[in-house]
């Protein structure tokens, strides 16, 4: 076993290398701009290599744990926090997804960001992000995880606001939204930070409660029984509070509104941080906490309370999946369609983990959630990268400025279609199909009929917006904007190799995993069966694979897929009738469209009913309490002192006779006192 215990150094290096690389970026920039760019990309390639070195552990399905001393507070609850890495199937899978997708996106950035200013800042935060994300993934305790967690949040904040000038002239490139809900990048970065912070606060309260009883924040120690020291009536509320963190980070209801607006950042940032990796951190954390909470639910006899937690996760997930999917149906921006879609897909993953915990049959859901995390990372990153190519070509983020691009960008078109099929879950050849069906199957077998129905409806919604997006971007007549661009001499074509190759690789990956999806799914299930069985102390877990359920699910999902895709195909690809013609016939659809376009009015509600009154109340408090009440007391004190003194001053008349009388009275008084003292003493 020498191999297993010593082969952990890549788990340390994979996050240390990018962190150091980020710090060195400004130095490389001093030398030469080109060197800086290649240096940053080289760092990410080296990082990916490190995580690939961890893959042998995946085959073994073991948990390896390695620590060094870090923070000590003698005599306290946190007597010694150790920094450590945890190498198990979950972290190895997640780390590889993160590092490989990041590497491809870094290569893509070489060409995509070439003409931008402030690239040192860009590369710095990108590598800082990769380092923090891998730190988060490899952490063996909550404190260290929080470093990564907040670190990625900071990078997200900085990179959403990359175009910090908020230039109105460039609003087609760097703003997000239109009309009343158009926001500049720096606004969106702030929004993302604060929204995720709201969730984090819940998570922190939960963590502090658990720490108070368990006396440790190490995942392995909590798993080994420390978590059961928490009184069972408090554990479920603490767990739900902790789920606040994932709700914020993974943009679930009610905190999801930040993610669509995070699209104000460069497309590469959206692809890496707001689709493939950071937003998965919430799902990852639920997956990480899953075994210990599951143990608490099923072996410590608190099933009733803990199931509330798992139901909360599942319901939030499935409702988010549906709500956000419908919002994507009316969006006018290509990146925003993808962002809504990301939120919706993350909802699926939450649903999977939630239903996994609510039944004794956890394997389907857990595997489904993690498998979907992988396939989503691949296809969504690819979709964003192709969207980047489209935005580059049309110089606009709006779908209505594109149209008819299929002819000019055939390769991009085919990559988009292949990865979009994966998103829709087109059967057999695409990884998204296998993972999504696993989730649906888990929902069905757990007996949650309403969740299953809502999840199936979301399949139709997904198919609709995906086909709509492809139709609007690639089909139909050439738009005015493209004509103008061509007249200006812009040559519209597929992008250069540095941009093409990354999404080609991701599209190939999604097809490869799809073609081998059946085998891969069963293998993954076996890995998690062995691993979770061991961690949970249940022995090897068995997946009772109900073939009946699997067939029902496939049938349902195919029907829903066609039900969603067919109308979109007619409206947006064939354009017989076009969407405008349809709206003319059916005006009721227009109000539905407005409802969806305005994000169910959730975002507007947050601004008008919560944020603005809150800030106004601060101003009101300042004027009412601070300036009027408290300063009023001050001026009352000083004013009355002055009045008192002024009144007393009137005795100082300067009339000699009065003064002499006063003096004599004083003398007499003093003498009387002295006599009294002398007699008394």
């Amino acid at each position: 076993m020498a191999f297993s215990s010593e082969w952990v150094w890549p788990a340390w290096l994979c996050w240390i290398i990018p962190l150091i690389g980020a710090a060195l970026t400004p130095l490389a920039a001093r030398v030469n701009r080109r060197l800086r760019d290649y240096f940053a990309v080289a760092v990410s390639i080296l990082t990916a290599f490190m995580t690939i070195l961890l893959l042998p552990h995946l085959m073994r399905g073991e948990l390896i744990h390695n620590q060094v001393d870090w923070v000590q507070v003698p005599g306290s609850t946190l007597i010694s926090v150790k920094a450590g890495v945890i190498v198990d199937p979950l972290s190895v899978i997640m780390a590889n997804v993160v590092s490989i997708v990041s590497m491809l996106i870094m290569v893509y950035s070489l060409a995509y960001m070439e003409k931008e200013e402030g690239l040192t800042r860009y590369w710095f935060f990108m590598n800082l992000f990769i380092g923090n994300m891998l730190l988060l993934v490899m952490s063996d305790n909550f404190i260290q995880l929080l470093f990564g967690w907040e670190g990625v949040g900071l990078c997200s904040y900085a990179l959403i606001g990359f175009w910090y000038r908020d230039s109105k002239a460039d609003w087609l490139k760097c703003w997000v939204g239109e009309g009343r809900e158009a926001y500049p990048p720096s606004h969106c970065g702030l929004k993302a930070f604060i929204a995720t912070r709201i969730g984090d606060v819940g998570m922190l309260i939960g963590v502090f409660i658990i720490l108070a009883y368990a006396g440790t924040l190490s995942f392995t120690e909590l798993q080994e029984g420390a978590v059961l020291k928490v009184p069972l009536w408090l554990l479920a509320p603490a767990a739900i509070l902790m789920f606040g963190g994932p709700v914020g980070k993974s943009a679930q209801l009610p905190l999801m509104e930040w993610l669509p607006d995070a699209m104000a950042g460069p497309t590469t940032v959206s692809a890496l941080i707001h689709a493939a990796t950071m937003v998965k951190a919430g799902v990852y954390l639920v997956g990480r906490l899953f075994p210990m909470l599951y143990t608490a639910a099923w072996t410590a006899g608190s099933a009733n309370q803990m199931i509330t937690f798992f139901y909360t996760v599942a319901w939030i997930g499935v409702v988010t999946a549906f709500v956000s999917g419908t919002q994507a149906m009316a969006s006018t921006e290509i990146k925003k369609v993808l962002a809504y879609s990301t939120v919706s897909q993350l909802g699926y993953m939450m649903l999977a983990l939630g239903v996994a915990g609510s039944t004794a049959e956890f394997l389907l859901g857990y595997t489904g959630g993690i498998f979907h995390l992988m396939s989503h990372a691949m296809f969504k990153a690819a979709l964003f990268l192709t969207a980047g190519a489209l935005i580059h070509a049309s110089h606009s983020r709006f779908l209505y400025h594109m149209g008819g691009l299929k002819r000019y960008m055939p390769l991009t078109f085919w990559c988009t279609v292949l990865t979009a099929f994966s998103l829709m879950g087109v059967p057999l050849l695409f990884s998204g199909f296998w993972s999504k069906d696993l989730i649906l199957e888990a929902a069905l077998t757990s007996g949650q009929l309403w969740m299953f129905i809502l999840a199936c409806l979301t399949v139709a919604v997904t198919a609709f917006y995906t086909v709509r997006m492809i139709g609007l971007a690639f089909y139909g007549p050439e738009t005015e904007r493209l004509k103008t661009l061509k007249e200006e001499g812009v040559h519209i074509h597929d992008p250069p190799p540095a941009m093409k190759l990354p999404y080609l690789a991701l599209a190939a990956g999604t097809v490869l995993f799809g073609a081998a999806g059946f085998m891969f799914r069963d293998w993954l299930k076996a890995v998690f069966a062995r691993f979770l069985g061991e961690v949970l102390g249940l022995g090897e877990a068995h997946a009772t694979h109900g073939s009946m359920a699997a067939w029902i699910v496939t049938a349902f999902s195919v029907v829903m897929l066609i039900a969603g895709a067919a109308p979109a195909y007619l409206l947006y690809v064939k354009r017989r009738p076009t969407a405008d013609q349809l709206l003319a016939i059916r005006p009721s659809l227009a109000s539905l469209r407005a409802f969806l376009f305005n994000r169910w009015y959730i975002n507007r509600f947050y601004y008008q009913a919560l944020l603005e009154p809150f800030i106004a109340s601060a101003g009101w408090l300042f004027r009412g309490v601070e300036s009027k009440a408290i300063d009023g007391v001050n001026s009352f004190l000083s004013g009355s002192t002055q009045r008192l003194v002024g009144w007393f001053r009137r005795t100082h008349t300067g009339i000699l006779n009065l003064n002499v009388v006063g003096m004599s009275l004083g003398f007499i008084l003093m003498i009387l006192i002295l006599i009294r003292l002398a007699l008394g003493g």
Binding site: V71, V73, P74, L78, F147, Y164, F208, A618, F622
Partner: protein
């Protein structure tokens, strides 16, 4: 360990003795007198750095104590540099030294600089002395020594309605100081000694509630210094209208001393009172109110210095929460918070001074789009605001985590049943960190993002090197301690674990 070399006494005497020299030489040296002040304050910086490291590595045991004979009525003059006081004295000396450098360029055009620097030194000695003295009378004298020079500094070199504001500052703090004095005298009455470390053993059983009264009187004086709601009203004016280098000492170094002293005096001299959960719940309530009130006020400000002032009020709420946590971890957190707030707020006040120096404004709306023009200032400001909000890997994170985790632990497990009121209060305290992030990053956005305002398009470097260097040094320390806080947490935790509190 006894302080045989008299290091602590030297750390007070050297700057104090330099003060008249500065007054004498300063008339010729003018603004360059700042260099002398820098040197004089580097001396205690080095001493307390050495002592802190000595405690961390163990060759100074638990720290240095010094005992000197004094007027018999007042007991002995005792000084102590242990794991709690020496890191804090180190920070105060370091800030005073660096801000002296910062003053050189900032104050260049002002008049009577020799008096400015002489008073500056006395003010710094007052702060360091308050922290290291363990005789209540000496403590009170140093406490007043902080007040008088700072009053003069505001009244003479301040801005706006400086005389009125300095007067308000003086009256508020002096009222608090009188309450403190009453508490100190009653302590002597109840225990027969002024020496903090002997009070607990000698405390005679008085009428019920008498000890609580003493502690309340002492705390009242300290809470005014900390600007805890509703005793905070002197602070926004004083911080906003003081000359910026003095603001950068008032807020980070001075007001936190109230929190420091609260921990030092109550837990050492009156441990019984702090075990009364009704008493600590009241303090927690005050702390949480202060956090929210300060945070909301900061959201409503248009003037950067005033925003920072209200932010300090809010942060003092966190410090009070730690002080009232009755746990080793929470008290350690309060110590770390003192340092993190000191570092961050010093950076931010110095940045506001940079704006006043370069653009002659401190209104947030007059600024905008400065990120490209002032990358170093922008980075340091972001680090400082994030540290205040408790974001890792910055030292503020540890302060908040320790304080919250420690007080949550006490609230949940120190009694037979969880103290639900305290749990709610602490949860509210955690929630208030959203407001901290909100006002910080919102102000940051308004100052640094967007298009560069035409009025700011002046050429030249970001700021004079002597103004920028202290900012960068402090930002660097903030990150360094954030990644590896053990140097501080070990030293403080070791000390507080002697108090035999719950963990």
């Amino acid at each position: 360990m006894m302080d045989e070399l008299g290091l602590i006494l030297q750390s007070l005497i050297v700057p104090a003795a330099t003060s008249p020299f500065v007054l004498w030489l300063g008339r010729d040296l003018r603004h360059r007198a700042g260099w002398i002040v820098f040197g004089a304050m580097m001396y205690p910086t080095i001493i307390y750095g050495y002592i802190s490291i000595g405690i961390y590595l163990g060759f100074l045991g638990e720290g240095l104590t010094a005992v000197y004979p004094w007027a018999p009525l007042l007991d002995r003059f005792t000084l102590l540099a242990d794991g709690f006081s020496s890191p804090i004295a180190f920070l105060i000396s370091l800030l005073s030294a660096l801000i002296a450098l910062y003053s050189i360029d900032y104050m260049e055009g002002s008049e009577n600089l020799e008096s400015y620097y002489a008073l500056y030194l006395l003010y710094a000695v007052g702060m360091v002395g308050t922290v290291v003295s363990t005789n209540l009378v000496a403590f009170f004298l140093f406490f007043e020594l902080m007040l008088i020079p700072s009053w003069a500094l505001i009244a003479v070199w301040g801005t706006g309605r400086k005389e009125a504001i300095a007067f308000k500052y003086f009256m508020y703090t002096e009222a608090g100081a009188l309450s403190l004095l009453a508490g100190v005298l009653l302590t002597k009455y109840a225990s027969g000694t002024f020496e903090i470390f002997q009070v607990a053993d000698r405390l005679k059983a008085g009428p019920p509630g008498f000890t609580t009264l003493i502690v309340s009187l002492i705390l009242l004086g300290l809470l005014v210094k900390m600007a805890i709601f509703p005793l905070h009203n002197w602070l926004p004016d004083a911080h906003a209208e003081a000359p910026t280098p003095i603001s950068a000492l008032l807020s980070p170094a001075m007001i936190g001393i109230g929190g420091y002293a609260a921990i030092r005096i109550t837990y050492t001299a009156f441990p019984v009172v702090m075990k009364d959960s009704r008493f600590t719940t009241t303090l927690l309530g005050l702390a949480v109110t202060t956090m929210f009130y300060g945070g909301l006020m900061a959201l409503a400000q248009k003037d950067l210095k005033r925003l920072l002032a209200f932010s300090s009020i809010s942060q003092m709420g966190y410090l009070l929460l730690g002080a009232a946590s009755v746990s080793t971890l929470g008290l350690t957190g309060a110590g770390v918070l003192y340092l993190s707030h000191g570092l961050a707020k010093a950076i931010l006040f110095m940045v506001s001074g940079v704006f006043m120096h370069s653009f002659h404004t401190r209104l947030i709306d007059d600024l905008g789009g400065l990120a490209g023009k002032m990358p170093y200032t922008a980075t340091a400001t972001l680090i400082a605001f994030l540290s205040l909000a408790g974001v890792p890997p910055l030292v503020g994170f540890w302060g908040e985590v320790f304080v919250f985790a420690g007080s949550m632990k006490t609230a949940l497990t120190s009694m037979l049943a969880p103290n639900i009121t305290q749990v709610w209060l602490i949860s509210l305290a955690v929630i208030s960190s959203i407001i901290t992030a909100g006002y910080g990053l919102w102000a940051f956005r308004r100052m640094f993002f967007g298009e560069l305002k035409p009025s700011l398009r002046i050429s030249g470097p970001e700021a004079p090197a002597l103004m920028l260097a202290p900012i960068i040094v402090l930002a660097f320390i903030t990150v360094l301690l954030g990644i590896y806080p053990t140097t501080i947490s070990q030293v403080m935790g070791q000390l507080f674990s002697n108090l035999k509190l719950p963990p």
